[in-house]
């Protein structure tokens, strides 16, 4: 019995669900605000096509062929020595999941508060509500537990269940968002000026030359599409053989951006309609602002108490849904890797969920501090975010590396076989396009991917990665006091130390990892012969169907 999505829409809903998270709904509006409004949309849109979609195409193609999670994919495509890269990718996503469950719990709590009218009224001080909530570990942990439990239930049975839950969640999300959008546009329009709309769609041409806007556009696009996170690899495992990966990638990216625009317009319109200094509200605040500013905004919704209730409940429910779907994919990504290595699905789901809950506990209640403006913030959680959030950049680079490796090996073997020319021009001709020829343009795809994809993967990608990481560290060195102090949780030394220890540990673990058998999840009719793939020489790689046999031998 193997898992498979029943139809294309199921897969798409699942992938969109993974990609749409709080990043679209909170991070995107904030980025628009901090980066000169409409100016930001240009790099953001540019990088959707130049970065996120090509990367997701690569991930889909990799996962669809390897039929394993991240570890197996890297083991098969990049080679045995690089299985740790898959472990890194999986670890980053799971480590983010530790605290993401806590954040999702906040969303649920705010839905509950909105539902019970706990956020509306003269006597309500949103800051006080937030501070009190954050400082009561029992409540925070309860909602964190709820999130993990819902996720566990949704994911218990595999792709089919994920699919159903996702479809329900996503459709509800769309409906709720559209409702919120209508309300906030109406609020914004009530003074005769669509300030929020004007702000979001007006380009400040002079700011377009600022590198930070481009860097932020890139990171926003990649993060909100989950490009480079291994999510697409995981979901591709459940694809049918003839699934069109390129169309799926385009759909997923475009759907994600569509939601971002709707969410952005909703939030910005609402804030511009109500706040006396909307730019400051949008740009100056910390990440807690979702829970501080928006309730105040929604409380002023038209229609009195009913309007406020609808807006508040709708928005935070949508936010909870977005968070839950991302949570599901995070757990699934981890579970997939366990299943690949011969563990039972149910046990893996249970183990992963419990781990995520337990390891998320410190983020829920440790080091709750008060910022100078009086707002409580979870310092431990932010340190986690700081360290693991930026580790994502490497996951993207590893995926590109895998594709370079595949191309190079393929070209070398063809040169040895005498079917391809040697030298640099030979490499350019055969090696560079090998992955695209073999796995992307398979004939199942509606959208044919041209040479531009190779150029992006081989040339633009490393350049952009370098720019991103240099600007990130440069910014950090310039703006963080005591940046080299290893005791500074926001410094460079600690982040390098953590990355170094993790990568070092994983590299050390690599030997053990590749001694384990790896089971590929190949749905019926999706026969992907291992001999066609670079990992074909690995005796320990086998199909799920052969599992029983191998298990007997092992015993």
């Amino acid at each position: 019995m193997s898992d498979q999505f029943s139809g294309r829409m199921g897969l798409i809903f699942a992938a969109i669900g993974a990609a749409i998270g709080t990043g679209n709904i909170w991070r995107f509006p904030r980025m628009v605000g901090a980066n000169e409004g409409g100016t930001f949309l240009i790099p953001w849109l540019f990088f959707l096509f130049a970065w996120s979609i090509p990367l997701v195409i690569a991930e889909f193609a990799l996962g669809k062929r390897s039929r394993t999670g991240t570890i197996g994919t890297f083991r098969i495509f990049a080679g045995k020595r690089f299985a740790w890269m898959g472990l890194w990718t999986a670890w980053i996503s799971t480590a983010i999941g530790f605290y993401y469950a806590v954040v999702s719990g906040w969303c649920l709590k705010y839905f509950q508060l909105g539902f019970s009218n706990g956020l509306v009224g003269e006597s309500v001080d949103t800051q006080l509500v937030w501070n009190e909530f954050l400082k009561s570990p029992g409540t925070v942990i309860f909602f964190q537990f709820l999130v993990v439990a819902i996720t566990l239930l949704a994911i218990w049975k595999g792709a089919k269940a994920i699919e159903k839950v996702n479809v329900i969640l996503m459709i509800s999300l769309f409906a709720l968002l559209f409702m919120s959008l209508g309300l906030s546009l109406w609020m914004d329009m009530s003074d005769g000026r669509l300030d929020g709309f004007l702000f979001m769609f007006t380009v400040e041409w002079s700011s377009l030359s600022e590198p930070s806007i481009w860097i932020n556009g890139l990171s926003q696009s990649a993060w909100s599409c989950s490009a480079g996170m291994g999510m697409a690899i995981t979901y591709a495992v459940y694809m049918r053989k003839d699934e069109d990966t390129t169309l799926n990638a385009f759909t997923m990216g475009l759907a994600n951006n569509s939601i971002s625009i709707i969410a952005g317009l909703t939030v910005l319109s609402a804030i511009f309609a109500v706040s006396s200094d909307p730019l400051e509200t949008v740009t100056g605040g910390s990440s807690a602002i979702t829970f501080l500013a928006l309730p105040e905004v929604f409380a002023q919704a038209p229609g009195g108490a009913v309007g406020a209730w609808v807006m508040m409940t709708g928005f935070f429910l949508a936010l909870s849904f977005a968070a839950l779907t991302s949570m599901i994919s995070t757990v699934e990504l981890c579970v997939r890797n366990f299943v690949d290595h011969g563990f039972e699905r149910e046990k893996s789901v249970l183990f992963t969920s419990i781990s995520i809950f337990i390891f998320g506990l410190p983020s829920a209640f440790l080091w709750i501090s008060i910022a100078p403006d009086g707002t409580a913030f979870p310092q431990f959680l932010e340190v986690q975010d700081h360290i693991w959030g930026y580790g994502l950049m490497f996951s993207g680079l590893f995926i590109a590396y895998t594709i370079w490796m595949y191309g190079f090996k393929k070209w070398r073997s063809e040169v040895e076989a005498g079917t391809a020319p040697g030298g640099f021009s030979g490499y350019l001709g055969v090696g560079v396009s090998a992955f695209r020829d073999d796995f992307i343009n398979t004939g199942d795809n509606d959208i044919w991917i041209g040479r531009w994809w190779d150029i992006l993967m081989y040339a633009a990608f490393p350049v952009l990665f370098s720019v991103l990481i240099i600007s990130y560290f440069g910014d950090m060195i310039a703006n963080t006091p005591n940046v080299w102090d290893p005791g500074n949780p926001h410094g460079i030394t600690i982040i390098l130390l953590f990355w170094g220890v993790v990568a070092g540990g994983f590299i050390a673990l690599n030997k053990k990892l590749i001694q384990r058998p790896l089971y590929r999840n190949i749905p019926e009719g999706a026969d992907a012969d291992i001999s066609m793939l670079p990992g074909g020489s690995d005796d320990l790689v086998s199909d799920t169907n052969e599992k029983l046999l191998v298990a007997i031998i092992e015993d």
Binding site: D277, N445, D446, D475, D485, P486, G487, N488
Partner: protein, 731 residues
């Protein structure tokens, strides 16, 4: 096999969990320090860093560099050279002067500034921002001479045995070298920055501005053991000054730091006269003068064959040797017959006198065939139209000549007058601040009130007593009388500490106690008289810069920031002299998420003031009406963020850059976005563009999915896309 499997899995799990366990501990090592608890009965370790409470200076080094023992001439000089080499942008090391034709038309050379006996010239440092720039002074030999930078001279160790008087200037040097160019720093490790500058900065009558010393358990408040709680020199008093202010000061002043003027005497005192430890062998005495060989050059009947120092006869008191009112026979300190050395014992006659003022100069200085006919006293004694042109004596020693020529040859603006408008000399001991005059009883200088004013400020910083020099005891020919009398320089003598050879355990806290004085003198060196006038009449205090609440932000264009000035304050409108300093800052993600960050590295921009015609304004404290000046800060209406601003104003009289608000603070004004957010047409265009790409693209994709259940050829797909697009457009 099974066992091994089990073991290896356990190991794998450990590696998997390691990063998480690591991250658990990360905030434990955080560098963040909680501000000290503001309650009584603190212990020093509740408040300060280990280094600060143990008197460990941040520049490290051995006991010598840490002011736990005295420098010798050699260790001092090598340290000065080292510091200058390490800070070539602000410090230049020198010894003596190059020489040439001095201001009096005399030919001099390097060796004339070298001590008589050991042959060393006084080492000194030229300190200013960009010390390699500016003009080169051929006579003095220093670079970094700027017309617009006021000059200040700080001299230590006129008297050989007064060891604290050169240790304190060395602490000044170390302080500048370490803190110059640093951002706001937490000097004492209490989690606060620049919270306790020198003196009583907040005007509450308490020098411990941040109250950390006062929060100690009562028994711990007198760390220097002088019997007074929380006064200067105690831990926690004036311990955290503004590094930015110090840096600005160094950049805008030329400091001539001469820690040890009397090298000859100092070496002799240390190596011969008072064997170590000096505070035991010479508890209340020691060698005072330089090492002029009076038996050779003087008038004793016996030639000094061995060239040994004759303790009974040799040496000149350098601080009696300056030319102003030199040798004025006040009786108390002058020799009976100036310029003579008699071998007879006795306190007051001959050169064995510890205050021997040097030989009489019987040359005809002006070539009119008369001698000593116009004594240096600022008057035309012989009514020939020339003042002080034929002196009786004084400035006869290499050390005083060095001071004389450095003073008179330092004239960057070429106006014929010395550039030193402020001068400071450290002596010990008595815990006094002394101002001129010294040579006359019951007399007052023309600048008496102003001199008292600045003296009071420094007395407050040090908890010393401010008095006129002659009220202690009359002296003639001292450094300050000469500087003030001849060159009009505001000159102070700090009598620091409680002994000539202070115990070495006391070096650090006494030097710390007297550190701020040097920077105070540097600050007022632009125009000490005017500064005193403006401050004595409360002009400085009553003038006001608009606070953020008072600034009215116009709906469009630049932001006017006004100042209300006293009519007694004649502002210099030139933008480089008087201006509003401003910068726009925007919190970044890291800053907004992780708390406030200091903005000191953000550069300031300047905009000048202009007069608002016919508009009067209220000065503070109900002191009447002033005139309004305004600076239009060019902040566009599309900018938003926080506007930091402060003003620096100078007078036509040369007082430079009085800051509002004081102590390196600045105001922060929230600036909202004021312009329209955009046009409807433009935003509709972008909206349509984005909508076409994103929603249109999504529509195409979804349509492809719905219709395309079978494999389609590439061509067909393309035509699908086109069809879909056409349909989209027609929608």
């Amino acid at each position: 096999m099974v066992m091994m499997e089990f073991k290896s899995r356990k190991g794998s799990l450990a590696i998997l969990l390691l990063p998480f366990l690591l991250s658990l501990f990360s905030p434990l090592g955080s560098g963040y320090v909680e501000p000290f608890p503001l309650e009584d009965d603190n212990e020093p370790e509740d408040i300060w860093s280990y280094d600060y409470r143990n008197h460990v200076f941040p520049w490290g080094g051995d006991a010598n560099m840490q002011f736990q023992e005295y420098h010798s001439y050699e260790t001092m000089k090598s340290r000065m050279m080292r510091v200058a080499a390490d800070n070539p942008n602000i410090m230049e090391f020198h010894e003596g002067l190059n020489g040439g034709t001095n201001a009096r038309g005399q030919e001099t050379s390097i060796d004339q500034y070298e001590g008589w006996f050991y042959g060393y010239a006084s080492p000194w440092l030229k300190i200013t921002g960009n010390v390699q720039g500016g003009t080169y002074n051929e006579f003095v030999g220093d670079n970094g001479n700027y017309q617009n930078k006021p000059d200040v001279m700080i001299v230590g160790n006129h008297h050989a045995r007064e060891w604290m008087s050169y240790e304190t200037p060395l602490l000044v040097m170390e302080t500048i070298a370490w803190y110059y160019g640093k951002g706001p720093t937490d000097n004492d490790g209490d989690g606060l920055i620049d919270e306790d500058p020198w003196g009583d900065a907040d005007g509450d009558g308490q020098v411990d501005d941040d109250g950390d010393c006062l929060s100690l358990n009562e028994s711990l408040r007198d760390s220097n053991g002088d019997g007074k709680d929380c006064n200067p020199g105690d831990l926690g008093v004036d311990e955290d000054f503004s590094e930015v202010e110090l840096t600005n000061l160094i950049n805008s002043r030329e400091i001539y730091l001469i820690p040890m003027l009397n090298v000859d005497g100092n070496i002799y005192d240390r190596e011969v006269f008072c064997p170590a430890p000096a505070w035991e062998t010479c508890p209340s005495g020691g060698w005072r003068k330089n090492l002029r060989d009076n038996t050779f050059t003087g008038s004793t009947p016996f030639p000094d064959l061995g060239e040994e120092v004759d303790e009974d006869c040799d040496g000149v008191d350098l601080n009696r040797n300056y030319q102003f009112e030199w040798g004025a026979p006040l009786g108390a300190t002058g020799p009976l017959i100036p310029g003579t050395c008699s071998p007879s014992e006795g306190e007051l006659d001959g050169t064995n006198n510890d205050v021997y003022n040097g030989p009489v100069d019987d040359t005809d200085n002006d070539g009119d065939f008369q001698i000593n006919e116009d004594h240096v006293d600022g008057k035309d004694d012989d009514a020939d139209g020339l003042v002080d042109e034929d002196w009786w004596g004084g400035n006869s020693e290499p050390e005083t000549k060095f001071i004389q020529d450095l003073t008179e040859m330092n004239d960057d603006d070429g106006d014929g007058a010395s550039d030193f408008k402020a001068t400071l000399t450290y002596h010990s001991y008595s815990e006094l601040v002394l101002y001129p005059w010294g040579h006359c009883n019951n007399c007052q200088s023309p600048d008496h009130d102003q001199l008292v004013y600045h003296g009071d400020q420094m007395a407050e910083m040090t908890d010393y007593t401010n008095m006129q020099s002659s009220d202690l005891y009359p002296t003639s020919g001292d450094f300050c009388d000469w500087h003030y009398g001849v060159h009009g320089s505001y000159c102070y003598t700090m009598e620091i500490g409680t002994a000539f050879h202070q115990h070495e355990d006391d070096v650090a806290h006494i030097a710390v106690r007297n550190l701020g004085v040097a920077f105070y003198m540097a600050e007022i060196s632009d125009n000490p008289r005017e500064r005193a006038d403006l401050e004595m009449t409360n002009v400085v205090k009553d003038q006001v810069l608009q606070t953020p609440d008072e600034v009215s932000i116009p709906p469009l264009g630049s932001i006017p920031i006004e100042m209300c000035l006293d009519h007694a304050f004649s502002i210099d409108y030139r933008p480089h002299r008087s201006h509003v300093m401003y910068r726009m800052v925007k919190p970044l993600r890291t800053q907004s998420d992780y708390g406030p960050a200091e903005w000191y590295s953000e550069p300031w921009e300047h905009v000048g003031f202009e007069l608002v015609e016919g508009q009067s304004c209220d000065l503070l404290n109900g002191t009447g009406l002033g005139y309004t000046v305004v600076a239009n800060v060019p902040i566009g209406d599309t900018e938003n963020g926080k506007l930091h601003y402060k003003s620096m104003i100078s007078t036509l009289g040369g007082t430079q850059k009085i800051e509002y608000p004081p102590n390196s603070q600045y105001y922060e004004l929230e600036i909202d976005y004021r312009a329209p957010y955009g046009t409807l047409f433009g935003s509709m265009m972008l909206f349509l563009l984005v909508a076409t790409f994103v929603w249109g693209g999504l529509g195409v994709c979804l349509r492809l999915m719905m219709t395309d259940q079978e494999n389609l050829s590439e061509l067909a797909a393309t035509s699908e896309v086109l069809d879909a697009m056409i349909e989209e457009d027609s929608d």
